[in-house]
């Protein structure tokens, strides 16, 4: 095994990378970056011992990073930490991650975007409902106006945890998807603009550009054929983070912004 490994999450699934590192009994840190988001997973002699991401620490961090469909990673061997946020057996945690990813796929079908708005269900409530403290906290935020992302921010709860609870409340029939007025009136960019961006990105990083753009658009809960103008800057920022050379990245951003101003 090479001393350091690096790659792109769109090409190598994080779970496969973790399985490789743990089965090889490696020690070191796996650092990941997706746009402005960062994550670190520490492995000690093949055991997962510590993880941190925007979503939290330990298993929560692993679960959230495992859902990334874009971003870069690199593994630096022999880096250790005194932090211990994972006390579970590594194999159990990896199996739980597989289970979590399966659950996440279902959640994404209901909550494809952090911009989604829920309202309290207008249907008759089930006879008996038991809610955990955090479920109640999320339910109390549902007002037909707040977006999923707003609720996560308000409660200082990870996006994944918030989405998981919302999915549970949705499945229990307590909430329903509200109207999305913004979606009906949102301005979208011409498909030619995205094709232009893809061509420019491909000239720098190669044919993987198309995969990265597709994944990022999907990750943002949008479609290529109707991509909102208001999210172009975020898309440019995300896809340009795949360019490792600083000068090339800024040059790409410059070209993208010039094209955007002309849209």
């Amino acid at each position: 095994m090479p001393e350091a490994i690096a790659g792109n999450v769109s090409q190598f699934k994080l779970l496969d990378v973790l399985k490789l590192l743990t089965s090889e009994g490696q020690t070191g840190v796996l650092s990941l970056r997706k746009g402005n988001e960062k994550g670190e997973i520490y492995v000690d002699k093949g055991s997962l011992i510590h993880a941190i991401s925007r979503a939290g620490m330990g298993a929560e961090a692993i679960f959230s990073i495992a859902t990334w469909t874009a971003g870069n990673f690199n593994f630096n061997p022999n880096v250790t930490t005194k932090e211990r946020t994972i006390d579970k057996d590594t194999n159990s945690l990896l199996n739980e991650t597989i289970q979590y990813l399966h659950e996440w796929e279902q959640i994404k079908e209901v909550i494809p975007s952090q911009d989604l708005i829920f309202r309290l269900s207008s249907k008759r409530a089930p006879e008996e409902i038991r809610l955990q403290h955090e479920e109640w906290s999320v339910l109390s935020q549902i007002d037909g106006k707040k977006k999923v992302g707003d609720i996560a921010d308000e409660l200082k709860m990870g996006e994944h945890e918030t989405a998981r609870i919302l999915y549970k409340l949705f499945s229990a029939g307590l909430i329903e998807v509200g109207t999305e007025p913004q979606l009906k009136t949102k301005k979208t960019v011409d498909a030619g603009f995205l094709a232009y961006l893809e061509g420019k990105l491909a000239a720098i990083i190669g044919p993987v550009a198309s995969v990265i753009i597709e994944e990022e658009i999907k990750d943002m809960g949008e479609q290529r054929g109707a991509f909102p103008t208001g999210k172009v800057s975020l898309l440019v920022e995300k896809i340009s983070s795949e360019i490792t050379d600083d000068t090339q990245r800024i040059e790409f951003q410059k070209i993208a912004l010039e094209a955007f101003r002309g849209v």
Partner: protein, 145 residues
């Protein structure tokens, strides 16, 4: 090549943009009058950058969120580009545009000339009049982590 902040100022929600030395002295645009508010904004941002440098926290961008506006600054070694915008402005678009402008001006002769003329670097925090100015700064801010 002259420094052009037009693309930045044309972004929806952007009220104005400036370039200051790290000491908070306005470099560009050069005004024919003294605007104490613009001076104070530069001072607030310079102090915030100095505080972060003091605790060895390397940052490229600082956002100061006030009740009615947002200040976004791209911090470099010798100067910072400050953008004043609405709280609802597209921050990502502003950051990208600032990055592109910074790349274009980092070796700009006008900027270098103005930096040479600006006062030497001082310890802004020590100069801040004890804790009073810092307390005043923090009272104005909503810090977003």
């Amino acid at each position: 090549m002259s420094v052009d902040l037009t693309n930045l100022n044309n972004i929806e929600g952007v009220a104005d943009s400036f370039i200051y030395s790290k000491m908070g002295m306005l470099l560009l645009p050069q005004l024919q009058y003294v605007d104490t508010r613009i001076m104070q904004l530069g001072r607030d941002m310079a102090l915030s950058a100095a505080l972060l440098e003091k605790i060895k926290q390397a940052v490229e961008f600082i956002e100061l969120v006030y009740e009615d506006r947002r200040l976004i600054a791209r911090i470099t070694r010798d100067y910072f580009i400050l953008v004043i915008c609405d709280v609802a402005a597209d921050v990502t678009l502003i950051r990208l545009t600032v990055n592109v402008i910074n790349e274009a001006i980092k070796d700009n002769k006008d900027i270098q000339r103005l930096l040479k003329k600006s006062p030497e670097k001082k310890d802004l925090i020590a100069e801040a009049g004890g804790d009073a100015e810092l307390k005043e700064l923090f009272a104005k801010l909503k810090i977003v982590v």
